[in-house]
């Protein structure tokens, strides 16, 4: 079972990102689950969301303490919250940052990736909303879901938000996907 934990801040769409992962992987015939860990309801508060992917029915409801994938949407959390709890050397770590400002992390994790999601978001949306963007890097680095399924999930999930928002999100994910090596 793959266990994905996402760290971000209230208002950044942390929960939506987990939901999109669950929806996209469901399209590929897998069982999936997504749920939030809401803190206090205010913008900017640290928030976690979780997704699980499995071949079999997922029954557990506990939060994710031993992630196989960790996504950090807001890198300012690294110095303020213990975002890496329960991660092992093998956990795939994806951080929204244009560069590695934390050289020590390279010794701790074998699969450490940085992706310029904020840059892409500012360019495409004019806002620092990175929740969908970073899913491009997620797809590339983990291989857990295809870019096509993510696009389909965005179309479904954002169907009421209109064509413009859908195509911008798809563009953003695709750019982040292409950018990841």
């Amino acid at each position: 079972m793959e266990q994905i934990r996402i760290h971000g801040r209230g208002g950044q769409g942390v929960v939506t990102a987990a939901e999109l992962i669950a929806i996209a992987t469901f399209y590929e015939g897998k069982e999936s689950q997504a749920f939030p860990n809401f803190g206090v309801e205010r913008t900017g508060a640290p928030i976690q969301a979780y997704a699980r992917i499995s071949k079999e029915r997922i029954v557990t409801r506990e939060q994710i303490y031993e992630p196989t994938v960790l996504i950090i949407q807001d890198a300012t959390l690294i110095d303020t919250v213990d975002v890496f709890f329960g991660c092992t050397k093998d956990t795939i770590i994806i951080i929204n940052s244009s560069e590695n400002k934390w050289p020590k992390l390279e010794r701790r994790f074998r699969h450490l990736h940085f992706t310029p999601a904020t840059e892409i978001a500012l360019r495409i949306f004019g806002k620092n909303i990175v929740n969908t963007v970073i899913l491009g890097a997620f797809a590339k680095y983990t291989g857990l879901v295809s870019l096509e399924s993510l696009k389909r999930a965005v179309k479904e999930k954002f169907s009421e938000k209109g064509e413009v928002i859908i195509s911008k999100n798809i563009q953003a994910i695709s750019e982040d996907f292409a950018n990841a090596d």
């Binding site: 069982e31 997504a34 409801r61």
Partner: protein, 404 residues
């Protein structure tokens, strides 16, 4: 959203709202409260989009919402409401009126802690505050069970003339995504026909009746006794309807059920009569008993642990004494895991389990009371393992699990 066979991936609240839409109540009234909100927002949106015919009556409080569905139901309409926490507490007076008037109202409670201190997260304190109100109480452990329970709830309510509450864990079920099958209205009709109230049971100008009238000491006791007797008499009906449900909603039933393709190899069995569901060995050392979504995490925990069984209570009121006793008397130890505390006593389910067993057996079996998950404290596999380890020790006092 996205079909694979008939499966979709949906938020729990959305799944419940779509099930209610297909059940087709005539009147919905609710007042939004976290974490019930998404259910009633979706139902309002469905109505606004012209996809449903029900009247959606906005209310100024939960007391009003409950009163509105009471009134609508009293005129012979199928109704729906949903609430949580303080909302349910504010409804309490009406909740008792509804059962007293024998109105077949179905209501979802997205279970949440109660104040004070204020807390919006999940536990079972809200439903336990009204468990004695004379409603049938169903609990769901996953999205599919929630959908199935609502369909069953209407059938029970309308055939038994008793209100039914469907309990779903707030956030854990209401705000999570997983795969689920929503049966369409045609299929639902095969099991749940259009509601036709019996003549003389509802407010009808052609057949005037009085509901909820003044009863003097000469009559009141009998009405309470009758409600109690009728609730108990609903147990075999629930079992029967559950069987019928399984036959019609084969796929929906299978998707909700416990999946174990190697029962024999794993030396485990599944017993499910619609009132309770047992998964575990024939002669377990310890059985864990729980309500709602907690059963999922318990299942995951005991996967690799021998000699442990799990008993999920589907129907909490009326209390299915016989069904529960048949299972728990197989074990040496029973760990009852409550998500509520009956202050000054024990976990509420624990008290029920003890009361249900006759005294000679209750003394032989070691029954323990554990309280977990209050106010949204995450219930982890580690905590369940700790309970399994602790359960053989005899102790009559309630134990709170989950401190760091």
């Amino acid at each position: 959203m996205a079909t694979k066979n008939n499966k979709q991936i949906l938020e729990g609240s959305r799944a419940i709202a779509l099930a209610i839409k297909n059940i087709a109540p005539a009147v919905i009234s609710a007042y939004p409260i976290t974490p019930q909100t998404h259910i009633v927002e979706d139902l309002a949106q469905i109505k606004a989009d012209g996809q449903a015919d029900y009247e959606y009556v906005r209310a100024e409080s939960e007391f009003a919402a409950a009163s509105i569905v009471l009134g609508a139901s009293a005129t012979g309409s199928r109704t729906y409401s949903a609430t949580s926490s303080q909302g349910l507490l504010l409804m309490t007076e009406v909740v008792y009126n509804i059962s007293g008037m024998r109105l077949p109202i179905v209501m979802t409670t997205a279970n949440r802690a109660i104040s004070s201190p204020i807390n919006i997260w999940n536990d079972h304190s809200d439903v336990m505050a009204i468990r004695d109100a004379g409603w049938i109480q169903l609990f769901a452990a996953n999205h599919q069970e929630a959908v199935n329970a609502h369909i069953l709830a209407y059938k029970l309510a309308e055939s038994l003339r008793l209100p039914v509450m469907v309990n779903v864990d707030g956030f854990i079920l209401t705000h999570s995504y997983e795969s689920v099958i929503i049966p369409d209205s045609k299929k639902i009709k095969q099991f749940l026909p259009a509601y036709k109230p019996l003549k003389g049971t509802y407010l009808d100008p052609k057949n005037p009746v009085t509901l909820g009238a003044f009863f003097t000491p000469a009559y009141y006791l009998e009405t309470r006794e009758a409600l109690h007797t009728d609730l108990l008499a609903s147990l075999p009906v629930i079992k029967k309807e559950y069987k019928k449900f399984k036959n019609i909603f084969f796929e929906e039933f299978a998707h909700a059920a416990i999946h174990d393709n190697n029962l024999k190899k794993n030396k485990r069995q599944i017993i499910d009569d619609g009132l309770v569901e047992y998964y575990g060995p024939a002669k377990p050392e310890t059985i864990l008993v729980a309500l709602g979504s907690l059963n999922g995490t318990i299942l995951e925990t005991i996967k690799d642990i021998q000699n442990i069984g799990v008993l999920k209570i589907r129907v909490y009121r009326p209390y299915p004494t016989e069904a529960i006793n048949k299972i728990i008397t197989r074990a040496k130890n029973i760990a009852v895991i409550d998500k509520a505390i009956n202050f000054g006593q024990t976990g509420p389910l624990y008290s029920d389990i003890k009361t249900g067993l006759d005294i000679t057996k209750a003394q032989k079996i070691n029954i323990r009371s554990y309280v977990v998950g209050l106010g949204g404290r995450d219930v982890t596999k580690k905590m369940i393992k700790l309970i399994i380890k602790d359960a053989p020790r005899r102790n009559n006092q309630v134990k709170f699990i989950g401190h760091d």
